[in-house]
């Protein structure tokens, strides 16, 4: 049982008689980057919801580091070490860059009312570390809502790094972002795995990114896993090319 190891066993989720996800069995390699690809509506984000506990599976089980995650609310799943970056970013708009990171650094004990007014100094230094990691050190006092979209994505990355998670679920981390910031984010992702030993699962539509950084890929279609393997194998598969990449023979 390795740190950050996630297994899905025959996971299924039904909405009003329609299976959004069915029979999904997958193993996400620890300290590697796994890609999750597939057409829109294939159930990729739904899988993320199921892992984090925002949705409860109707079938199957989700096992993280040897323990079942079912019946856990999202905050408890997070405390077990699973972090998430949302498709729509979701940084704390009204809070400053610094506050966004400090928040992620705070422990449950510290958040008991009245505890730890004094701990603020230490927190700031640690927060700066992650803010520098993504290169936002010139913006620490700025409110998140005043940052550009790309900067907000960087902030979200810094935030999950500060959160000290072992497994990170990233939903389209480079969507809608300039090439410069894309390069930066990709570099950070590799660093997160190589240097900080995180396990990453990435939902992505950009095939270059998939080829570039992932170690293993799952192709999801209509709620089922149609194909899995190394990125070049999956992207070369005829079925994938037909159903997803729009490349018909």
């Amino acid at each position: 049982m390795k740190k950050g190891e996630l297994k899905l066993k025959n996971v299924g989720k039904k909405f009003k008689g329609f299976w959004a996800v069915k029979g999904v069995t997958a193993k996400f390699l620890p300290q590697r980057i796994t890609g999750l690809i597939g057409p829109n509506g294939a159930g990729k984000t739904t899988l993320f919801h199921l892992i984090t506990g925002e949705l409860v599976p109707d079938e199957g089980d989700i096992i993280y580091q040897g323990e079942s995650l079912k019946e856990n609310p999202p905050w408890r799943v997070a405390r077990k070490g699973i972090g998430r970056m949302f498709q729509d970013v979701r940084v704390f708009q009204g809070l400053s860059v610094l506050e966004n990171i400090v928040l992620a650094l705070q422990t449950p004990e510290e958040e008991i009312p009245f505890y730890g007014l004094l701990k603020k100094k230490e927190k700031k230094e640690e927060a700066l570390r992650w803010i520098e990691f993504v290169g936002l050190e010139n913006e620490i006092k700025r409110k998140a809502e005043d940052l550009s979209y790309g900067q907000q994505k960087l902030l979200a990355l810094a935030r999950i790094m500060a959160g000290n998670f072992d497994l990170l679920l990233l939903d389209e981390p480079i969507a809608g972002v300039s090439p410069v910031i894309t390069k930066k984010i990709l570099k950070l992702l590799r660093e997160m795995v190589d240097k900080y030993k995180k396990t990453l699962v990435i939902i992505e539509h950009n095939m270059n990114v998939i080829m570039d950084i992932t170690d293993w890929v799952y192709f999801l279609n209509e709620g089922r896993i149609y194909f899995s393997g190394r990125p070049d194998h999956v992207l070369g598969a005829e079925e994938v090319r037909r159903l997803y990449l729009g490349l018909v023979k």
Binding site: A78, F92, E99, E110, P113
Partner: protein
């Protein structure tokens, strides 16, 4: 001069109420319409404890806080399952239900007849009787409350509340349990509202349910919307402004028959204007969602 002191006393009482609601609304981001109910329960709890059990101020007050806090806690457990419009309606429901109890359970609360003759507080042998005494009492309690709330607002808990208010899903994805933290805020907010209730009861020496209606809850929310919430100065400004506004109108020579209606019309207008141009209030940080 006496009237000025009276105004200062009322401002002190309302400031404590504003800071306590600020925890729920400004920090928790929840539009609660039942805060006057907690204010009322605090007043009645204190009064009944002081008068039926002859408990001194320094005992009855904390007990009233505990009782109100427990009520807020038990209401919050179901209540905080909701957000948005349902939450507003549910807290409105709490307000109506509690008012109904205060008004209709005549054997306990004397209902619309009210409870007169509430004894003035006696603290360590010192009787709080005159206006100046009350100014001192409410002022001291205000200072304690300010310290209490500043500590809370600036604590990691306060920041966690702000994060929950900004984006609950994102905060939960970072391990913050929203139900639990909001419940603490709701409970603490209710418990401190009881302090104002007790102060009001001992100051006016008479309470009846009509001081703790839905309109009063709306007034408290208006303080936070006009002055601002989510920080310290917003509620401070809002309270002073809205408590003094009727006096300013009186100054302008408005006849007493129409003054209350004109005052309300001004409130309504201020709310509309502010919500359009400055939804976070004059000095506030939090914009209602």
């Amino acid at each position: 001069m006496n009237y000025v002191i009276h105004l200062l006393i009322m401002i002190n009482i309302y400031l404590v109420l504003a800071y306590s609601l600020n925890l729920v609304l400004g920090f928790g981001g929840l539009l609660s319409l039942c805060h006057a109910a907690f204010y009322g329960i605090g007043a009645y709890a204190y009064t009944l404890l002081a008068m039926h059990f002859d408990l001194p101020f320094m005992v009855a007050l904390p007990l009233a806080m505990v009782i109100t806090g427990l009520l807020a806690f038990f209401l919050g457990i179901p209540g905080l399952k909701f957000r948005g419009d349902p939450f507003v309606l549910v807290t409105l429901g709490f307000q109506v239900i509690i008012f109904s109890v205060l008004y209709n359970w005549v054997s306990l609360t004397k209902g619309p007849y009210g409870i007169p003759g509430i004894p003035r507080p006696e603290i360590f042998g010192f009787k709080i009787d005159s206006l100046y005494d009350f100014l001192g009492l409410t002022g001291s309690i205000l200072i304690l409350s300010v310290l209490f709330f500043l500590a809370l607002y600036r604590s990691p808990f306060g920041l966690a509340l702000k994060a929950l208010r900004e984006d609950e899903r994102a905060a939960e994805s970072l391990g913050k349990p929203s139900q639990l933290y909001l419940l603490w805020a709701f409970t603490l907010g209710g418990a401190v509202a009881a302090v104002s209730g007790a102060l009001y009861a001992t100051y006016v020496t008479y309470i009846d349910p009509t001081s703790f209606t839905l309109n009063e809850s709306i007034f408290l929310v208006a303080i936070l919307l006009v002055g601002g919430s989510g920080n310290f100065w917003g509620p401070t400004l809002g309270t002073i402004f809205l408590v003094l506004l009727p006096e300013a109108l009186r100054f302008l020579g408005l006849p007493d028959t129409i003054a209350p209606n004109v005052r309300q019309m001004i409130y309504g207008t201020i709310l509309i204007i502010l919500m359009y141009w400055r939804p976070q209030g004059i000095l506030g940080e939090f914009k209602i969602r």
